[in-house]
């Protein structure tokens, strides 16, 4: 168990700087998820923590030790890769035991740990199979088992679920979270899937272009994104962003003015009848509807700008018809139009 501290961490490839001095403190036992678009430097950061990439500047500490110059094996971390990295020429048992390759444990203890990991991950019936005879989810479990037997100070995951189909991904999310609960080991987890981030993390770290934009518990980031990028990145469908201004403390989304209003589709409700006094009402022509069961996503056109709202399940508006949707004042995020930084909500 250990904390991981990044202190003004920098990575450059030649002249190109890809990580611009990031600071982060991962607490002991915390599950931290790095999210961000492709190329933002998530993997690079994780690989520097693992010791697979050299650090160009700043410091990485695991526990109290500065590990910048340490070999991966000396850092007492384990890593799980996107394509599993389990070896086709070895059985499941050998693959899991490979995590103990250099440890000086007795044979008995090694066996015990392998069996234990197999049991926890539901791999006991497959221990003597080759990876080729396993499903994608089982392979990923083998990779996790291999990391587990080491009993490392921290686990690093780099997009471990992105090769799995949606259903399996949902299941593995829960399993990994349960595993974290059970082992209590620090986890740093990289993904570009914001659902994974929201569902698994104790804390989300949103990255973009080698900077950390925001870090905090999932609901904090969801409720109070610091800028337009984070606001749109977390939550599906993405938050609607509408330029406008305020008049008498009310939002006016008419395209003019120095503000951007952000409204999550879940907070923009298609509704007939009277408008609450301080609510924002938007009216437009329906371009598409997506019935999801419990609710329906309604895409409509607001003076040339696409907007997504939510309608109750049984009230699906027709494409081409006019709809009107309302958002309560307290659900409207406000951003500075120039800097795209958040100005908070009026509550």
């Amino acid at each position: 168990m250990a904390t991981i501290t990044l202190d003004k961490l920098v990575k450059s490839y030649g002249k190109a700087r890809v990580i611009h001095g990031i600071d982060l403190e991962v607490r002991d036992g915390e599950f931290v998820v790095f999210v961000g678009p492709s190329g933002c430097g998530k993997s690079t950061t994780l690989r520097m923590i693992a010791g697979l990439e050299e650090v160009s500047g700043g410091e990485i500490r695991i526990g109290d030790n500065v590990v910048n110059e340490l070999d991966p094996k000396a850092r007492n971390i384990a890593m799980v890769f996107q394509n599993y990295a389990i070896y086709p020429h070895m059985t499941v048992r050998q693959n899991i035991a490979f995590g103990l390759y250099t440890t000086k444990l007795g044979k008995e203890e090694k066996n015990r740990r392998v069996e234990e990991a197999g049991r926890i991950l539901g791999l006991t019936p497959f221990l003597d199979r080759r990876p080729a005879a396993l499903s994608g989810g089982q392979r990923q479990r083998v990779a996790i088992g291999r990391a587990m037997v080491r009993e490392p100070a921290a686990f690093l995951f780099d997009e471990p679920l992105s090769n799995l189909d949606a259903q399996l991904r949902a299941q593995m999310r829960i399993e990994i979270k349960a595993l974290h609960h059970r082992l209590g080991t620090t986890i740093a987890y990289v993904t570009h899937d914001q659902v994974e981030a929201m569902t698994m993390a104790d804390r989300i770290v949103v990255m973009r272009d080698g900077h950390i934009l925001q870090s905090g518990p999932p609901m904090e980031i969801y409720d109070d994104p610091v800028d337009v990028f984070t606001a749109r990145f977390i939550g599906t469908p993405s938050m609607n962003i509408l330029p406008g201004r305020e008049a008498d403390g009310r939002a006016v989304a008419d395209g003019d003015g120095g503000l951007l209003f952000g409204i999550r589709p879940q907070d923009l409700l298609v509704r007939e009848g009277a408008v609450a006094a301080d609510a924002l009402e938007l009216t437009g022509t329906v371009t598409a509807v997506e019935p999801l069961g419990p609710e329906t996503l309604v895409h409509f056109d607001l003076a040339g700008q696409p907007v997504i709202a939510t309608a109750p399940a049984r009230a699906v508006p027709e494409v081409g018809s006019q709809v009107s949707a309302q958002a309560a004042r307290s659900e409207i995020h406000r951003f500075d139009r120039k800097t795209e930084r958040s100005l908070g909500r009026r509550r």
């Binding site: 697979l52 020429h89 490979f98 990779a143 291999r146």
Partner: protein, 287 residues
């Protein structure tokens, strides 16, 4: 309309497809080619089973087969010696290639270092120099170092090959870096990563390389002929030639020697058929 007629109608196109004219031509050509290649081999074995009186009787199945020729050839101690020489040379060179070609290929494929591209091009460029041009430098080198007429003299030019290095490099490039990095995190040193992780992942390429190298060295003629002078160091092809000269027109003896020399090749082929076909496809460019 019954199900049966429907099935019959659907089934008809299949045999037609199999007997397309293109296929007939392909099969005919392959068959003729096969016969052309196999016939001399069969005659070699057949002749080796005949006694001197029957060798001009061109029946494929000898009237009165005998193993006497084999006893006579094997009874001559030199033959066994050549056989062992060839085995030693071919096996040693094969092991060396499997080890060093893949070590260098791996380094070129998986490590970034200054001059890597230059080293690779330098190795590759030697592929374009024909053996005939290298024989004189090799000979001078052997003469200077006192390697003439030694096993090492026979073997050294082939201990590493540009082709093998190139082949292995191409294959190691297909091994995902994750596999190696996972091992690095598990604490293996670089040599162990290569040996325990990377090598098992390229076994098809390794077997192709081993088979080509073994067969190439088993049948090598030009260089062993030049570098050896004493009959104890002859490899089988050289020994057989001198044997043929000696035996003048005793064809049954010459054929017996040739048959004995062919047997290991056949064994290698029969045992490793699967790998050879795959290897030829993999290596593709082997001239």
């Amino acid at each position: 309309m019954t199900a049966a007629t429907a099935t019959a109608r659907e089934a008809r196109p299949l045999p037609m497809a199999r007997l397309r004219p293109g296929r007939i031509v392909t099969w005919t050509v392959l068959f003729i080619g096969g016969v052309l290649m196999v016939t001399p081999l069969l005659f070699m074995f057949s002749t080796s089973l005949k006694d001197a009186g029957q060798i001009y009787d061109l029946r494929l199945i000898p009237e009165d087969p005998t193993l006497a020729n084999y006893f006579e050839v094997l009874g001559d101690g030199r033959f066994l010696r050549w056989f062992l020489n060839s085995s030693l040379v071919a096996i040693a060179v094969t092991l060396s290639n499997v080890f060093f070609d893949s070590l260098v290929g791996y380094t070129l494929a998986k490590f970034r270092f200054r001059g890597r591209q230059f080293v690779f091009l330098a190795i590759l460029s030697t592929l374009m120099i024909p053996t005939e041009m290298l024989v004189i430098p090799w000979y001078l080198m052997s003469a200077n170092f006192g390697w003439l007429d030694t096993y090492w003299g026979i073997m050294f030019p082939g201990m590493m090959t540009a082709f093998g290095t190139f082949l292995m490099k191409q294959f190691f490039e297909t091994v995902p870096d994750d596999f190696l990095e996972a091992a690095r995190i598990d604490g293996l040193n670089e040599f162990a990563i290569w040996w325990r992780v990377a090598m098992p992942l390229v076994t098809p390429a390794l077997s192709a390389l081993a088979i080509f190298t073994f067969l190439g060295n088993w049948t090598a003629f030009f260089w062993p002929l030049i570098v050896t002078t004493s009959s104890e160091l002859y490899t089988l092809p050289i020994g057989l030639t001198s044997f043929a000269v000696e035996q003048a027109i005793r064809w049954e003896m010459i054929m017996t020697g040739a048959a004995l020399a062919t047997i290991p090749t056949l064994i290698v082929f029969l045992l490793l058929q699967r790998y050879i076909v795959r290897g030829v496809m993999l290596a593709g460019l082997k001239g």
